[in-house]
Subunit: 178 residues, 4 copies
Amino acid sequence: MARGVNKVILIGNLGQDPETRYTPNGNAVVNLNLATDESYKDRQTGQLVPKTEWHRIVMFGKIAEVAGQYLRKGSKVYIEGKLQTRKWQGQDGQDRYTTEVVVDINGQMQMLDSRGEGGGASQGAPQGRPQQSSQQGNYNAPAGPQGGQQGGYSQPAGGQGSGSMPEPVDDFDDDIPF
Amino acid sequence: MARGVNKVILIGNLGQDPETRYTPNGNAVVNLNLATDESYKDRQTGQLVPKTEWHRIVMFGKIAEVAGQYLRKGSKVYIEGKLQTRKWQGQDGQDRYTTEVVVDINGQMQMLDSRGEGGGASQGAPQGRPQQSSQQGNYNAPAGPQGGQQGGYSQPAGGQGSGSMPEPVDDFDDDIPF
Amino acid sequence: MARGVNKVILIGNLGQDPETRYTPNGNAVVNLNLATDESYKDRQTGQLVPKTEWHRIVMFGKIAEVAGQYLRKGSKVYIEGKLQTRKWQGQDGQDRYTTEVVVDINGQMQMLDSRGEGGGASQGAPQGRPQQSSQQGNYNAPAGPQGGQQGGYSQPAGGQGSGSMPEPVDDFDDDIPF
Amino acid sequence: MARGVNKVILIGNLGQDPETRYTPNGNAVVNLNLATDESYKDRQTGQLVPKTEWHRIVMFGKIAEVAGQYLRKGSKVYIEGKLQTRKWQGQDGQDRYTTEVVVDINGQMQMLDSRGEGGGASQGAPQGRPQQSSQQGNYNAPAGPQGGQQGGYSQPAGGQGSGSMPEPVDDFDDDIPF
DNA sequence: TTTT
DNA sequence: TTTT
């Protein structure tokens, strides 16, 4: 429940392949860097100056799984989430703050690349859901600047790649009771 | 799941008290008329001309229940939903179309009136959830232009009024699995 | 100036080529039909049922010009506008209402088709800005159900086709005073 | 012009009175801290846990002027802007990043407090547009963590307070050419 | 670091 | 009437 509105809507391209991690209980968490571009006319020169804004995205749940499997460096995507700033400790012991766009069960994601891209490989390792047995080990790594929100994550030890193109993900859109 | 984005965001005031109905299985359905105001400068006269746009809102589920209990004529509200156009038959047998903003489990509502208004009276009858026993009868009334989306609705036979100010409603925000 | 918020955000595909008209003073007005898709799980069968919602879009100004030139049947597009319902008279003399998404100077449009589509021809006639001399004649045609908002429009007598891919359009984004 | 979408929509309350500064050429720049509240059900305890997210807002132009004059600590407001992260140097010489919601000519603001609040006093000094003569001096102060985006700002030396309730601000909504 |  |  929200006493307020906190909504972010972005359309942009991934700067790299997504990074997928897993919570101890096996839930996927995906980090993205998303670029949104804007050009503006320089008042002096009259030139059109390109300007890129980079956004740090964190995805959870089913959306995260789909993003981890199907998005790749360069992918164009629509994202709806909420702003969240978390505090972490720099190596100098001082507080730092990082603002992220959190896409959870209330958020939305739409892949905007055309037909036939799909489960494209990319050079990166395939990212599937890890075996149960891999969900242990380093998930309690110290939370760094990129660190975890809800405890630590385990890196998938392996996993089977994707298959064909997925349905778009908007959690809980299905099985609505009316 | 959505292969596209269909989102409406409104802030406005109710033109009348909400109308609450119930589906055969007891789910609340609320209809609202919402006014959003805009002024523009007349090019001829330079005068600031007010212009009101009226929106037809349909709410379902828990949001509908809260809306029915706490919103009243004049209430200011934030609404997030989706556009939907439905076809109905005019008395002349011709097709008509009505476009509505549907606020369901994926939507959001925020009451924007200040503290302490709450279950304010208004002249209308209090609208609570009807007794089980009342969920029958006329819910198969013919669907008119204002008619139902998913079959017919029953009018609540009675109900106990509201109490104090509710929590805002954003379905499924609670109990998120991370 | 707005005493309220009235915002629509859509991502979908055009059902046909855009229709471009011109106001007496030469401003472009474009009409689009936009489909947004959604699937939902049928409660009975458990089947995934596709559902398409059609939206009537009206664009003005610079955005309209770009849309008229570069969008085609099937194009995927992001649109931000506002809801507006206008009244018109049916042939039976009765009032009818049509709700549209108006994309004007405060709106936004983003073409989401990948690289290299651009000024693609389509089978339709090329749609450029008409000669001054063509901005007369039938612009006072009676406003029908698809009729004009602000007076009538003239159909472009001719025009030169498009060129290469345009910059995206977000009116007034340029030359911002800071 | 934007090759992408970068949009933030917030409804929340000010944590303090707005801070107004002015650019060398006299344009208002306002900083706000805005709280959006959300509650979630704790999985362990089942308790409803309140959670507040703080957002740093920067406003420019006419919107900034209105915000500086009429918003006060506690004011409830709707804001539409874009995400922007700027880099600054910590005292230790290291890079830091601050993410802000920028509300410029493409953004929107709506005051959501009920009627008759208006230019309410608050304990802070009234913040009006400074005299021309005051637009000099320290506007080249070193940019700190709260520092300027486009050069430095001058603090208003004084200014006359507000008057009555203003029209809401949505720049360029007026004088639209149709 | 992405896209056009 | 579009898309996947």
